[in-house]
């Protein structure tokens, strides 16, 4: 009685050994580091390593180590001063083919890393950073595709001069015809060539046809807008230089962006949410602006625009080229020390620019900055979306000579505006406006505070429970304490193995588990005590105590597990972290409190003649 087979003990020891091994990486701290990644398809190589090494040595910047990690170059530092100064240095020396980001690199020894040992990843509330939830304006997506189908419909039906008129009405495209025959002909063509359009209204007598975008086409449009936006956001985040960002879809119209360790959140917000692009148009030199403003009528082929300061100017409606043709953009100071953006166009943009500048030397060309914004307004307690589109002329300069794909834009207000514009043009534009609907930023100082406070409360709570259990249950209490310690180690090792993110509520979950994990042992020990009162046979009392308490423990823990699973499936971020640690804690506590503690009790008392139990 009260003896575990050798294989059972071995298995327990083996299990605990593995747990301890994989919990170990968390004891090593992390180094301040810089992570250098190739931008786009570029992958950093040995030459880059060499260059970086030389630069750091030349500038006398001390670093702990320099080497490859995955597909990145990682430089570790011992102080933040050298980390920051070398970031500035490398940003200046390396071309834009590289993404340079500040990072924290865990300093796990090589042998442990070789075994796959990793430290728990810390959540944003512990390491500092920003969490954004962005919502894509899907109404705008649908209205944009309406415009596209409107044009396609016109082109398709124009060939045979089938329609009389096409107009947009709410969600419908309404085509009117001259005769029934033409209408039927058009229906056939639409069915064949424009399968994305479905017939919504078709009355026999009337010579009109109402078309709407089919629901599958709508879904496709929405999901592709979401995907494109994710790609663009990823490019922008790379431009910001953030290590280990998370950009992922949530639901059908939302995107989560998490940026660990970002300091300038105002800029991050500007950059992520901006839907901005530029257009290049010729100035209408033939007509007078003032007449147009006074009469309120713009001449055919022209449109009235305004500078930022409100001065009006007539521009041609034809766009020479626009943001989507820009392949590269960088900001700098021009010869007059004014902020400027240098632009490189792609083939078709360059050709169009060459043709225009050849034909219109001496004319003025304007750069129009277009920005779409969506905000939520509260009108009479109801949240409504407000969309604004601003179109400002940022400059209009005389074409001095022909040029094609390389030129500069000036007329920007500040260097910051120039850098932002260059970044946005480089990273590509968002296919639909987005709105930040949730933000959670934790500054680095609060993150550090949270870690420290969380750690202290775990340790203090833990120590108090240990003292109390030892005092109350003597030898059995010490066994429970051992089980509790092993439980803590096991939780940490599982969290590390599955690379779950540890958050502050997660730590609270661990603290709560510490309090509740002793419950199983308390149940068992109280039961053993009871049995001792009923029987003289000590061995039997131990065994009965464990067995009778088992079902109760299982029942009690399963119900708690149900509650924490519900928490997990409904909770967002922070609550999920709490649910994960609580669930893991419940499961591991059953193992340590029942099986491990029994094994130890067996070793101490099992198979011997015991006069008295220290309980």
């Amino acid at each position: 009685m009260n003896h575990y087979a050798a294989w059972k003990n071995t298995l327990i020891v083996f299990f605990l050994f593995i747990s301890t091994l994989y919990a170990l990486p968390n004891l090593y701290g992390s180094d301040l580091a810089i992570q250098i990644t190739g931008a786009g398809d570029y992958i950093v190589d040995d030459n880059d390593l060499e260059t970086i090494n030389n630069e750091l040595l030349e500038n006398n910047i001390a670093f702990k180590s320099l080497g490859f990690q995955d597909k990145n170059i990682l430089i570790r530092f011992s102080d933040s001063q050298s980390q920051l100064s070398s970031k500035a240095l490398l940003k200046e020396k390396l071309s834009r083919n590289y993404v340079i980001a500040l990072n924290l690199a865990p300093s796990v020894p090589q042998w442990l890393e070789g075994l796959g040992g990793k430290a728990m990843s810390l959540g944003l509330d512990l390491r500092g950073g920003v969490h954004f939830l962005l919502e894509v304006d899907m109404d705008a997506v649908i209205s944009m595709s309406m415009d596209r189908y409107y044009n396609e419909l016109r082109t398709t039906l124009r060939k045979d001069k089938l329609y009389k008129k096409i107009r947009k009405e709410d969600n419908l495209l309404i085509v009117s015809f001259k005769s029934e025959e033409l209408k039927n002909q058009a229906k056939k063509i639409i069915k064949k060539d424009l399968p994305d359009l479905a017939i919504a209204e078709d009355t026999e007598q009337e010579l009109e046809l109402g078309l709407e975008i089919s629901s599958t086409a709508k879904t496709t449009a929405k999901s592709s807008a979401l995907k494109q936006n994710i790609t663009t956001l990823r490019n922008r985040v790379n431009e910001l230089g953030v290590a280990e960002p998370i950009i992922q879809q949530q639901g059908t119209e939302r995107i989560v962006v998490q940026l660990p360790g970002v300091q300038d959140t105002a800029r991050a917000k500007e950059i992520l949410g901006a839907v901005a692009t530029v257009e290049f148009r010729l100035v209408d030199e033939k007509n007078d602006v003032q007449t147009a403003v006074n009469s309120g009528k713009t001449p055919a082929g022209s449109k009235l625009y305004k500078f930022k300061d409100g001065r009006p100017l007539l521009l041609k409606t034809n766009v020479i080229t626009a943001g989507e043709n820009i392949v590269d953009a960088s900001s700098s100071m021009d010869e007059n020390n004014q902020p400027s953006v240098s632009i490189v166009l792609d083939g078709s943009g360059g050709r169009s620019m060459l043709d225009t500048t050849k034909e219109f030397i001496g004319y003025r060309m304007a750069v129009v900055f277009i920005e779409n914004q969506v905000e939520t307004l509260i009108v009479d307690g109801v949240a409504t979306k407000k969309r604004t589109k601003t179109q400002d002329i940022i400059n209009a300069a005389t074409i001095q000579g022909t040029f094609s794909n390389r030129f500069q834009i000036t007329g920007l207000d500040s260097a910051r505006e120039a850098t932002n514009l260059a970044l946005l043009l480089r990273a590509g534009s968002l296919s639909a406006p987005v709105e930040i609907i949730e933000e959670r930023t934790i500054g680095p100082s609060l993150g550090a505070d949270n870690i420290q406070k969380g750690l202290i409360s775990v340790l203090v709570g833990f120590a108090l429970v240990l003292v109390f259990m030892g005092w109350r249950y003597r030898v059995f209490g010490l066994v429970a304490n051992l089980a509790l310690t092993l439980n803590l180690i096991t939780i940490v090792s599982i969290l590390s193995m599955i690379q779950a993110t540890l958050t502050l509520p997660g730590i609270a979950g661990i603290v709560l588990t510490v309090g509740m994990a002793v419950d199983a042992n308390v149940l068992i020990f109280e039961r053993v005590k009871e049995e001792l009162r009923a029987t003289k046979n000590i061995q039997k009392a131990i065994s009965a105590g464990y067995e009778k308490a088992l079902l109760t423990i299982a029942d009690a823990n399963i119900t708690t597990l149900i509650a924490s699973l519900v928490l997990f499936s409904f909770g967002t971020g922070a609550i999920k972290g709490f649910a994960v640690t609580l669930s893991i804690g419940i499961i591991t506590s059953m193992f340590t409190a029942i099986i491990v503690s029994r094994a130890v009790i067996n070793l101490i008392y099992g198979g011997k003649k015991v006069e008295e139990l220290s309980i």
Binding site: T376, E438, K453, A508, L561, F570
Partner: protein, 308 residues
């Protein structure tokens, strides 16, 4: 703890259940009245809005911050110290134009030399969703537990445990409403954890009641319940005590961010301990539990006993 004979209960809980019921009824009425009239002080997780926590080098001038906010025409602002007088918490209800950029402009307005410790912005739509999800989570947790307990025990036990849970949740919410402590997402998580914890306690007692029903020849439920309560008493108190120790550590040392989380758990654990002794068992007694009701699970018990 003195050693006592098994069959003579030390404390006669059952006969005191009338007082307990009056006590519970008072707590419930006060809680419901407070929730009804005063309501809960919902945090921005549920109402939407903006929250900014700033750290200053020296004592922060709240009046200065308030007047700056006022002159910038922000409505529904609340400025207070947070933890210490060098830390300030600014809360804004959703403005006419809600936007994540609001916090940036406020921070810019208050000067460059402050340490931005935390910014939270929740759009009105998100707040509404979180409220709905939170309510649903509570409901699903209760239903899941109801099913499990009904399956493992008997429907009267399930009703008894749910009654205890609802009791605990309402009183915990009542305390939050009475003291006007902010109710945010973490508090909701704490209340769900309270559900789990309180149930844990109740189940242990119920398990013992069932066991005693099956083990004795007595059929009178009152002494059996009383005996079970006494047998599990030291365990109930021990576990509550260890849990309270760690919660106190969390409450005092865990920092402001999880202060109300730990507070909710503290209240919940205390109420949960009380309810598992008085409320749950009074409930099954009132529902008329008897030995016959245990019989379906006797077979189960035998199967378990038959295990090696």
């Amino acid at each position: 703890m003195s050693i006592r004979s098994l069959n003579i209960p030390v404390i006669d809980f059952v006969s005191k259940r009338k007082y307990a019921m009056i006590f519970s009824a008072i707590l419930l009425i006060v809680s419901i009245a407070s929730i009804g009239f005063q309501g809960l002080k919902f945090g921005i997780d549920f109402t939407g809005g903006t929250l900014i926590e700033l750290g200053y080098d020296k004592t922060a001038d709240l009046e200065d911050i308030r007047s700056k906010l006022e002159s910038a025409n922000y409505s529904g602002t609340n400025v207070q110290y947070f933890g210490s007088d060098t830390e300030v918490l600014i809360q804004l209800e959703p403005q006419a134009v809600t936007s994540a950029k609001l916090s940036s402009s406020i921070i810019r307005m208050l000067g460059e030399d402050v340490d931005v410790r935390r910014v939270e912005f929740v759009g009105p739509k998100v707040g509404e969703e979180l409220t709905n999800d939170g309510g649903l989570a509570m409901l699903y947790a209760l239903i899941g537990i109801l099913i499990y307990v009904a399956f493992r025990f008997e429907y009267r036990f399930a009703l008894g445990s749910i009654a205890a849970l609802v009791h605990d949740v309402i009183i915990t919410l009542g305390v939050f409403s009475l003291l006007q402590i902010e109710f945010d997402l973490t508090v909701l998580a704490a209340i769900l954890a309270v559900i789990g914890y309180s149930l844990n306690d109740t189940i242990v007692v119920f398990d013992r009641i069932r066991e005693n029903f099956l083990a004795t020849r007595h059929i009178e439920p009152k002494p059996i319940i009383n005996e079970a309560l006494n047998q599990t008493l030291s365990r109930t108190l021990m576990t509550s005590f260890t849990t309270l120790i760690v919660l106190l550590a969390l409450f005092y040392l865990g920092g402001e961010v999880i202060h109300s989380f730990a507070g909710a758990l503290l209240i919940g654990v205390i109420i949960g301990t009380y309810s598992s002794i008085y409320v749950a068992s009074s409930m099954i007694l009132a529902l008329g539990i008897s030995k016959e009701d245990m019989l379906p699970s006797e077979k189960e018990q035998k199967e378990i006993d038959a295990r090696p």
